[in-house]
């Protein structure tokens, strides 16, 4: 930390100022002049929170994607299809049992098993052949999309959130003052907060698993040098299966989450795949913290874009991606 301060004193100052301005924007009551220029504070706070919670969803999907890539050099373009299936199966489970939490767990397991099948039956036979793997995953995603269309039709499925997650809550952030001086607090959808909490918990658990357990150590070693790891006698194939199962399970898990606060429908697979691709390109292929930062950046860009520059919102994420590719092609959080 102090090393960073010494080496990049100008940047440290810029970051500090940005931090202070950001905190002031969040906690202060905005003067009318400021509201006249950039709109109401409620709008700003909402865009900020929405961006972060949307980033939470993106992180859930992209973390599995980036882990699989980091370890196996396999760009799994069928990742979006796993998300879609997770959403559909989750809808079925919630419809039958009424339990949202049960759906999360069961979907994780089902899609994880599906991931194991993919790895054992298909990908391990074309290890190291990246182009072939990529083409095969595209093929699989097309086939799966058609199967989903056949099985569930083109309808929109929206997964029912449990009672305690529906509706808005009041957050301790002042958006404005009433004329009598009484503060108006921000009301915010409960379900989005829950999703954010979920993403943070998952992120911390993943970090702990990767950095504090033996399996995590093996996975990290595999990311750095797969061949050397297998030369030391570790059964790399087992680790591959484990990671693939986890990555696929996370995609399914995210499908339930996404189906709850958005909806599940044909075409969702491509959209979420595109989002996770952008996220891991920005964050750095194979890096979990990178996925987290990339997800939040993309989420914020989408939400702030849609509020403040609606006409160009759709290109904003790609502008960010192009900038990252031009200035730091390996992604924000990845060494050379």
């Amino acid at each position: 930390m102090s090393g960073f301060l010494a080496r990049h004193s100008v940047w440290s100052l810029v970051i500090l100022v940005a931090l202070i301005v950001g905190l002031w924007l969040i906690f202060a009551v905005w003067p009318p002049e400021l509201e006249a220029v950039i709109g109401r504070k409620r709008l700003f706070l909402n865009a900020l929170f929405n961006g972060i919670t949307l980033g939470g969803l993106y992180f859930l999907v992209a973390s599995g994607f980036t882990l699989i890539f980091g370890l196996m050099r396999n760009v799994n373009l069928a990742h979006g299809s796993l998300y879609l299936f997770g959403g559909y199966i989750g809808y079925g489970i919630v419809y039958l049992t009424g339990s949202w939490l049960l759906a999360l767990i069961v979907v994780f397991l089902i899609v994880a098993v599906f991931g194991i099948l993919l790895q054992v039956l298909i990908f391990r036979w074309m290890e190291g052949q990246e182009l072939r793997q990529t083409l095969v995953t595209i093929g699989i995603s097309i086939v799966l999309a058609d199967i989903a269309l056949w099985a569930w039709g083109g309808d929109f499925y929206q997964i029912e959130a449990p009672e305690w997650l529906t509706g808005p809550v009041e957050l301790p952030f002042v958006t404005a003052l009433r004329s009598n001086g009484e503060p108006v607090y921000l009301t915010y959808p409960m379900v989005r907060l829950a999703i954010l909490a979920l993403a943070i918990i998952v992120g911390i658990l993943m970090w702990l698993a990767l950095n504090r357990t033996r399996i995590g150590m093996l996975i990290r070693a595999g990311v750095d040098d797969r061949d050397m790891l297998s030369a030391t006698g570790v059964r790399v194939q087992l680790i591959f299966i484990l990671v693939f199962a986890f990555g696929a399970g996370m995609a399914g898990f995210a499908g339930v989450v996404g189906g709850t606060f958005q909806s599940i429908q044909p075409g969702e697979d491509i959209k979420i795949l595109l989002a996770s691709l952008v996220v891991v390109i920005v964050g750095g292929m194979g890096s979990i913290p990178g996925a987290a930062i990339g997800a939040v950046i993309i989420g914020l860009a989408e939400q702030f874009g849609s509020v403040y520059i609606p006409t160009y919102a759709i290109v904003l994420t790609f502008v960010i991606m192009v900038l990252v590719l031009a200035l730091r092609p390996q992604g924000l959080l990845r060494g050379n």
């Binding site: 409620r42 709008l43 909402n46 865009a47 929405n50 961006g51 919670t53 949307l54 809808y91 419809y95 039709g153 083109g154 309808d155 929109f156 499925y157 929206q158 997964i159 029912e160 959130a161 529906t166 509706g167 808005p168 009301t187 915010y188 959808p189 409960m190 379900v191 989005r192 606060f261 958005q262 909806s263 429908q265 044909p266 075409g267 959209k271 989408e302 939400q303 702030f304 849609s306 509020v307 609606p310 006409t311 919102a313 759709i314």
Partner: protein
Amino acid sequence: MFRHLLATAALAALTATGAQAQDNKLKIGVLATLEGALTTLGEDAVRGLQVAVKQAGGKIAGKEVELIIVPTNASPDSALRGVRKLVEQDKVPIVIGPVSGSEGIALRDYSKTQPGVTFLNGSSGALETTFVTPSENFFRFNMNGAQWLAGLGEYLYKDKGYKKIVTLAEDYSFPYTQIMGLATEYCRLGGQITERLWVPLGTKDFASIIAKLPDDVDAIYLGLGGGDAVNFFNQYAQAGGKAKLVGGSIMVDQTVLSSKGAAKRLAIGVPSAGPQADTWDDPKWQAWVKAYQDAFPADKRFPIPSLTGTAYYNAFNALNQAMTKINGDLSDGHKKLRETLAALELDAPNGKIKLDKNRQAIGTNFVYEIVEAPNGDLVSKMVKLVPNVSQNLGFDDATFQRIGLPSRTSPECKKSY
């Protein structure tokens, strides 16, 4: 010599049978949005078409109908790709489609390059399609998006008492056209549209836009469709939104009302307008609903055909009637077919439809509200019927030209045009 004659005869016989096989089949190319945000609309369009083919016994003027269906995703280039395949590769003489607004504009332009093919619009409803440089061989038997909101402005202002509204809609030609229909009627009475918000087609996350909706208006007009509409309802409910809502023609029709989940319940009580009302008691309408319901098992269709289903059903019937009148004779480069189509008065289940000089439908419009049927289905219940709605929306030609084409900001909201 003899052998030569024999060979010629054999050849002639061969071509004759070939020609006969050709003669007994009528290929019809179909474009429908079977991918992307408007998938349910495309699926129901195909269902409407299938019912019409079935009722015709699979034949038009004695020729067996062969449908070649190409999926699109509501973008103009997907429609163009699809129609090129149909016309240039499959050599279809007739195309029915597309579903969505901007696709229709692309198809109008393409139809000009293919004078040997006749195009019947599916359900697309952008104004430009038949208003700006209309194409000789492009026929639209459905009304456009502006016509589909005829009567709604007056209903909102006078019956509902909404004096000030804000609009939120997808950013492309069809919602522009719809808001044109709403604004020209609503603003002339004195209503105000204080702000127009736009989102890209296929928006998933509406949370920030919802925060942007002002509190000081009487109602919010929503011009969304398909998955976007479902996502909006879902997130609006989560955010605890309480404002009064008004729907565009595909915001609260069966494609959205039949979605799975509770979000659609926000639609109950929402007023809207469009070319049909689900519970209309007209016998012709009821007969069409029954034919649709009988044709598919309950889980493979909507409770009631959606407006895309009805529009494609009408397009096929218009073609069938015109072809029957001319005995299926297309040998004159479709001249007779086009004359017959242009003069046709279609006795459609959603009211009589005839074409104006731009080959654009003049028809009946319905103002309705969404109610819950006794069996739990959400359906639209008619509150007002507006007959003879023309493309000019009741303005004379010069005034209508002056209003100009609909866009994000046009037409302005004012008392006289």
